[in-house]
Symmetry: C2
Subunit: 164 residues, 2 copies
DNA sequence: TAATTAGGTAGCGATTCGCAACTAGATTGC
DNA sequence: GCAATCTAGTTGCGAATCGCTACCTAATTA
């Protein structure tokens, strides 16, 4: 049933393994490439091993959604630069969370390259869900609520005003 | 170029909007259903509007990957229960992060239902990337490092031992 | 025992996939 | 300044996957 995800990439990064389980992978993988400093068509193509027409299609889609920005290189007008927009960069927590999940549950080993704190070069912490005041929440601390059941903003607004 | 993602779901949850941009959606959407308390084939089918053969295929895949567990209902032997495993539940931060991204950048409105802290029914915080000691890290605080460049465990092990 | 319900399969046309070959514009080598 | 090369695609093709509808089987209810 599998359609042949490349094994050579699975070894380096858990993301393909995570997406093998989760479904479509190229958009996420292109995004990972962007986060890791890839900027040009040929870089993505050779790094990811994606078919050229699919890559062109996905890049166009990502640009269309405002996740990547497309602009000609000033120094070499054959080249096109693809860069993350703020919107694209905002997918970092999602990316990191998915990658960490793949590390923990699929590959079992840390992916490379590792995302580290620039200050001390230590790997970032596991991405978690937290309460409004920063406590880590786990399964039994969480609840799904309809909008009208959410604690209303009386106290929240009071705090915000107090902080200003 | 779009293949017709249902609009009626986009209104309720930002995840379809996020996945409209990100690619494959059914596995994530089934997972969201699981997080929100769906357990049976027909529930997923009518809630998500997914084709039956695709749903059967995706459920089998998720079960095969150990994300969902499949077991016959003891009280009604026609029914099959699909439940999140620990591995499946571990995708919560990814789900929440992707959903929050969709809320912020695609739909612009909070999704329903809302994930809240059971203690005070306030919505969970935005999922962020943090340092090992919990500081929120942003773009300029982060670095991609090769495994050999990661701060080695001399001090880390020392701390761990000190804590024991 | 007949009708209904739950969880699938089977068949179909349309779309998308990956692969390979080709193209167009810019640049470099000689 | 002309040929070779390099970048970023597009095109054509067969294979796989998609969504839709209809059908099927086992268990339950009337």
């Amino acid at each position: 049933m599998g359609n042949g995800l490349r094994e050579d990439l699975s070894a380096l990064c858990s993301l393909p393994a995570a997406l093998e389980a989760m479904g479509e992978r190229w958009s996420f993988l292109i995004l990972r490439g962007s986060f890791n400093g890839l900027h040009h068509f040929e870089e993505f193509q050779s790094e990811l091993g994606i078919a050229r027409n699919i890559l062109a299609n996905r890049l166009a889609r990502l640009v269309g959604h405002g996740i990547l920005e497309r602009r000609p290189c000033p120094d070499d007008r054959r080249k096109i630069e693809y860069r993350l927009t703020d919107k694209g960069y905002a997918l970092l927590p999602t990316m990191v969370a998915l990658r960490q999940w793949g590390e923990r549950w699929e590959t079992g080993v840390p992916a490379s390259p590792v995302l580290v704190d620039a200050r001390d070069r230590r790997p970032v912490a596991a991405v978690t869900v937290r309460s409004h005041d920063g406590r880590v929440l786990s399964k039994q601390d969480l609840l799904w609520a309809l909008p009208e059941q959410v604690a209303q903003d009386a106290e929240v607004e009071a705090e915000v005003k107090a902080a200003e």
